[in-house]
Subunit: 467 residues, 4 copies
């Protein structure tokens, strides 16, 4: 992903039941899920009748830099959330998990996804007297559950889920349980693991590996799973629907060492690279990937094509949020700050550059220039996904349609715009044939503009944002 | 107040309507009200269809130390709040103003006071599906207003106020108005001022002086006042009740340069000192006050008694929250850090020490020791208020009854405990005859144990805290 | 001092010998000396062959806000320094104490005062190869001692002192002793105390009171005193000279509860007020002081004149360095932020306002306006010192001569400029007759322009600053 | 480098002459040199008769996070320094550049290297009266230059260099020039570039690339180069000596995109990998490198051996200094925090793992376990350098000899200790034949124990540290 500021998953979620110092495990789990959101993090814990919360802006290790915060989060039950959010002080109110009280019982939530009927639900709830303290659709889950006349949180949550539409992989914390749920189409991933005598849930399995938990299975689409001292309890309260797993998890979001939707991300990413080489061969000396996310696809391209893989760009490890652009008029400094080209590798070579997507095209253009000025003789840009032409409504933050270069230009136009010698995108069919799951299991709406769910008129989204 | 950590008003509130950069005026107003709460501060502004909020832990000038925060708070309408709160990260959620949305309309609130029926209101609201995101009774105002079927915030707020009992001086901000309200008994102060072409409201008039606003009048007990582009609109939607102005505002809380309940605080405080000299004369060389709050009463004592006023204790200006007690076994360091006795004044003298209250007695004891070790020959402690024997349920944070020294000991016992040569408290009647208002206008429950409102069983309060 | 940003003593010094955790005592001592400099603080400790240092910008309790810093400063010997300094990052290098090594022996210094021959000493040392790492004249002491061929630091320091001219009250720390020294004219104060089995030295005795140390005596002008495990050792290596104690310590700098140059500051400050009433009586209703520094003189004025003392201005306790001026065009906000006038006291009254000095006159003018707008009918400004007409070269930071209002205007002109009904300054003779010490013991050069030491051409000072 | 906390170059240096806002260029240059030291950074600038300095603990973008610091550093001449340093507050005094004044002229220095005769030079200087304010050998350069009777800094520096022994690549800043110097053996790199009409010097060429400067040449061993408005002026004041370029720059320190000692680092690192494959072939399925530093050597190994290169470990980008180890008893958490193994790549495979060095062996052991537990069937560890058996005295921070695993164990013993299936180190001869420069040009003392300079008795070093 060269335009790395352009596309963001909104979240990673994590939950633990049944471990002393559950907060520390959640901290580590969130650390492993950091790539799913770096702008805020929070943990809620429960135990012995008490509930504790701490959250803040920043990466997990920044928010919890003072270990007293972790120490205060006692209890053997915990959920955590890490999130991409818009900047600005006002977004403080939107840091998850959210924690509320109703009927003297506490409930917390961490959510990955995006509701499509949030505007109408919110209007209905507000007419009935509910007050909203955040601008996030996630708050709706809490109002719906609280409005249910049922007696337990588990039943009230199930009640509430019947009304929401859209994508959600959620973990709830009650005072004595974790409740994990996934929408019936299964847009976003969520999996179950075993940690010693307790259980863990996480967006990706890499969060299990860091703490030494064992992968058990996916939370099923449409499943609501309660983890308590009575063990596991699973129900499917919602109408069954066609699956719509987000293919972008394979292309870019998930960590290569994770298992997502039941498959190793690394393996599928490799196959995408191979298929790319079949669809768009190139007459070149070396193959490089844009680090780190596109390296695996680049290795696949190399294997298939027989063209040697090289490390032509080094990713800088010292980029912090605080980097000052001293405005010296240095060309393309933002890209130079992140990557440095290895002249010894690129000079005089015909180079296949593999990336996983092009969003606006501006960063790609700068990278192409950088590679060219390091001496590359030819640049053949290969994208291990189809052109992105339509925004996502299920939990990925993208620019508007008009900002998506592939929605405004044809491939030859992009090729010219980026000043590359050739440009090849993977086909939708090629992409869909790489996972073992059947084609129809995936949501590919960002590549096709066809959404697996009815999307309310565009302004709905805007109206919610304004609220 | 020697036990200055022992008694706290919970809040100061401020509001502006009709000034460009209302946030800055609110910042200055809160600064002037800082003595009413130093642990958190916040401002909400509205204008041009946008609402902005910023709040944080700390004094006003710490929370807004980075002026970008103030700059972002655009709009010509603003409310602000400064507050004493319990420590601990969890209290972050309770920083006021609170800001919510209902029916796509925003509403913010800043509250000084304490509701007495919050537990039952909260239970009722929760049963109806309302979710609580704070542990503060202030959130109840927002739920009640949102539950009303009326169409405007003004009417919905009036509706909501019919259900609450207790003390409240509140300012609401809507997207196009300020609404100020005061409970029918008028426990806490709230006044209206004129600033150029707009209006301001504040807990005390000292907040008007700093910005150059003109005092207009008190918000009346039971009044709900809307300030909008249409001007002022005042209604009295609630049943009339006996007034119960908090006498402690005169004794300790309010700044001497403020007008509160229609009278100059300084003048009344002076009269309290005079009356104290009448009730408890002393054969002494000098009169000193515990700075800064008791100096005015000490001057009154001096005037009446003819005994010379002196400055025998200097208050240290460099005490910060971060002061480390290095635990050198230095006796009474906490008091030494705050005050230093002037030996030249105290040595060999018989000293009348005027203070405005004794809470637990521990700090008073240390001060007495300090004054003694600076050479005072005799110490005659005079308190410009009656003994505090009962906690407050209307907005002042006090220790429990058992921690109040006067609830556990007689005056002679306290005299002995503090090791003073004599001790005199002002009488309730003496105190009540000092303001111009009739005796019956005041709440003196902390001195008498008789509350002007039914107080639910004690555990209600505790239950709310736990929520 | 109304123009409180205008005149600064440059420093407070403190030293301890022979107490476990000497650092904590030094911390408390510096806290008590905080009024002598708020912009940086530092502590050096020695013990068991190790020397530790920590210092930083800010008030003492800010610099040591993290108690790990204090904990690391082990050893039973310590010196500390608190200092006013010019702003700007570059001044980091000038934070005292300075710590150096020479012949594998460490030496640290904290200095209050100002050398008058620093430029020539520095030039000489630099020609001989010495390098300067600060822009402070204090560094010169270290170079001179290091250049001495003598064997012990004590003897090398005595050697060095023979070359310096000007004012200095210094404490040195070696690996096994404290060495305190005072210039032969005794410009700045320095005193010796006993703490349990060890000793302390400090700029003022208030630093003894906070830790419970006992005052022993002044360090004599011209004395060099070593405190080590062998006890005290005192020598007078320098030529005897006329004393020139800084009279400004009595007028403004020292804390009223300190003993300075052998006398209680409070008592002298009281007498200055009395003398002021004799020299400049007024037909008025009340006397007020500019808090806190002028209150004692105001009490003296009140006693002598029989005019009632009142508290007409309250000093705000919540002023932090970070206060933002939101630039609302509010008149004289800087003064309003610091003080608030008590209308009930001032309204309709003829007021004697006692202050201890006028520097530029701008702040005085704003205060006069503030008091006038609070309703004062007449304002009679009385200054408990003579007009300041000449800058100080012995350790007080003042504006240049041209910025001193009394150097540019006559008293009637100042009276008119400040818009007061009358203005009276104390006479030089009146001032000098207040302390018990003979007149000739004091430096009054800021009031007379006659310096007790030859001052090199003005530009010398500037040249040093530039270095 | 798996033991990345074990070996550190002490510094990166950078200088600019002749560019408006030289500070910003230096900031960017230091950012590119960040891999040479992350614990402190500083910049000194000169221009228009003023010299400015700012420095602090942390990475460059942390130290200069507030851009006002950069803005204050005006002037068209600048030097900067980034440094690894021991932790602890006391090291604040050692942050470079150092800035001093002598004969009213300022001089600043940034130094990469280590002097071997610092103890005796320091003793000599101290006997002559010099005072030391840091514990760094770098300060010696400043004293020596200041002691010289010559008239210009250039000549005085040349004078001083005649006395020092050891390694140094230094940049000096005077008020009107940059002076760069390199020791006669040339241990550490230093190169010259052209930036528009001015010049730049830097430890590595990657600092030129980020600002768009052009590489001109190496500063020669023994050269002292002055850059001023008169252009370049080069002298060789020191006795010629055998070259002793640090081979470790090629193996690990320098960035692969840099040119060092006249050659592309990437190319040599690649050849080291190839040679390693020749000397130590393996029967395996894939080759992986420890990211990022060993990836290039791994690619070389892959090319030579024909075994497929794979990315088996992902380096985590979210590791901050503040990471808390929550002490959950999670095995090898430190390694898990840094790297995550890609199961899909490693499972069931026979893996060649290429790393660039083994220091203590503890981290290597953890990595081996991690790779094994990700499913690797066999692990063949290959090191692209010979065994490290002896500490460095020329600017690299290493553990003591006894902590170096290869100094205590034979290769078979290490193989067993690390539990790898086979272990192969590159030979010294193999290593030396990879660069184009003749064998004798390099210092390989850490691999052989034979030092190109006499090293004083070990305790000298210790004594200096104690000072």
């Amino acid at each position: 992903m060269t335009d790395s500021k352009m596309i963001h998953d909104k979240c990673g979620v994590f939950g633990v039941f049944g471990s002393q110092r559950a907060a520390e495990l959640t901290y580590l789990g969130l650390y492993a899920l950091q790539h799913r959101g770096q702008e805020s993090a929070g943990i809620v814990t429960a135990g012995n009748g008490n509930v504790h919360i701490y959250k803040g802006m920043g990466e997990v290790n920044e928010v919890f830099a003072d270990n007293r915060h972790l120490n205060r989060l006692s209890g053997s039950i915990a959920i955590g959330h890490t999130r991409y959010s818009t900047t600005g002080a006002s977004s403080l109110i939107n840091i998850q998990p959210f924690l509320i009280t109703n009927r003297s019982q506490k409930l917390a939530i961490g959510h990955n996804g995006n509701l499509t009927n949030s505007y109408e639900l919110r209007r209905k709830l507000e007419m009935a007297g509910s007050i909203f303290q955040t601008t996030s659709d996630t708050e709706i889950f809490l109002h719906l559950a609280s409005s249910s006349p049922k007696r337990t949180w588990f039943n009230r949550i199930c009640d509430g889920l019947k009304q929401v539409k859209g994508s959600y992989s959620v973990v709830f914390l009650t005072e004595d349980s974790i409740i994990a749920a996934r929408d019936p189409q299964g847009f976003r991933p969520l999996c179950l693991g075993k940690y010693r005598r307790g259980y863990v849930v996480a967006s990706e399995t890499c969060a299990f590996d860091i703490i030494g938990a064992k992968y058990v299975r996916e939370i099923e689409p449409g499943e609501v799973l309660e983890i308590s001292t009575k063990g596991l309890r699973s129900v499917f309260p919602l109408k069954k629907q066609h699956h719509a797993f987000c293919i972008f998890e394979y292309i870019y979001f998930a960590r290569p060492d994770s298992k997502v939707f039941g498959e190793n991300v690394d393996k599928i990413r490799r196959r995408l690279g191979r298929q790319l080489a079949i669809e768009h061969p190139a007459d070149a000396d070396i193959v490089i990937g844009i680090p780190d996310s596109a390296n695996t696809a680049a290795l696949g391209y190399s294997e298939q094509s027989g063209i040697r893989f090289e490390i032509g760009l080094i990713r800088n490890h010292y980029v912090g949020r605080t980097f000052i652009d001293p405005d010296q008029g240095i060309r393309d400094l933002d890209v130079k700050i992140k990557f440095n080209p290895v002249k010894g590798v690129l000079e005089g070579r015909r180079v296949v550059v593999v990336d996983d997507s092009i969003v606006r095209g501006t960063t790609s253009m700068k990278l192409v220039k950088m590679i060219r000025s390091a001496g590359a003789k030819e640049i053949h840009l290969r994208i291990s996904a189809p052109p992105i032409i339509s925004p996502c409504f299920f939990g990925i933050d993208m620019p508007t349609r008009r900002e998506l270069i592939a929605s405004e230009m044809t491939v030859p136009e992009i090729e010219k715009y980026l000043e590359v010698d050739s440009l090849g995108y993977l086909s939708v069919d090629g992409m869909l044939s790489m996972p073992s799951l059947p084609n129809g299991s995936f949501c590919v709406s960002c590549f096709t503009g066809k959404y697996p769910l009815k999307i309310p008129a565009m302004n709905d989204k805007l109206r919610l944002e304004k609220v």
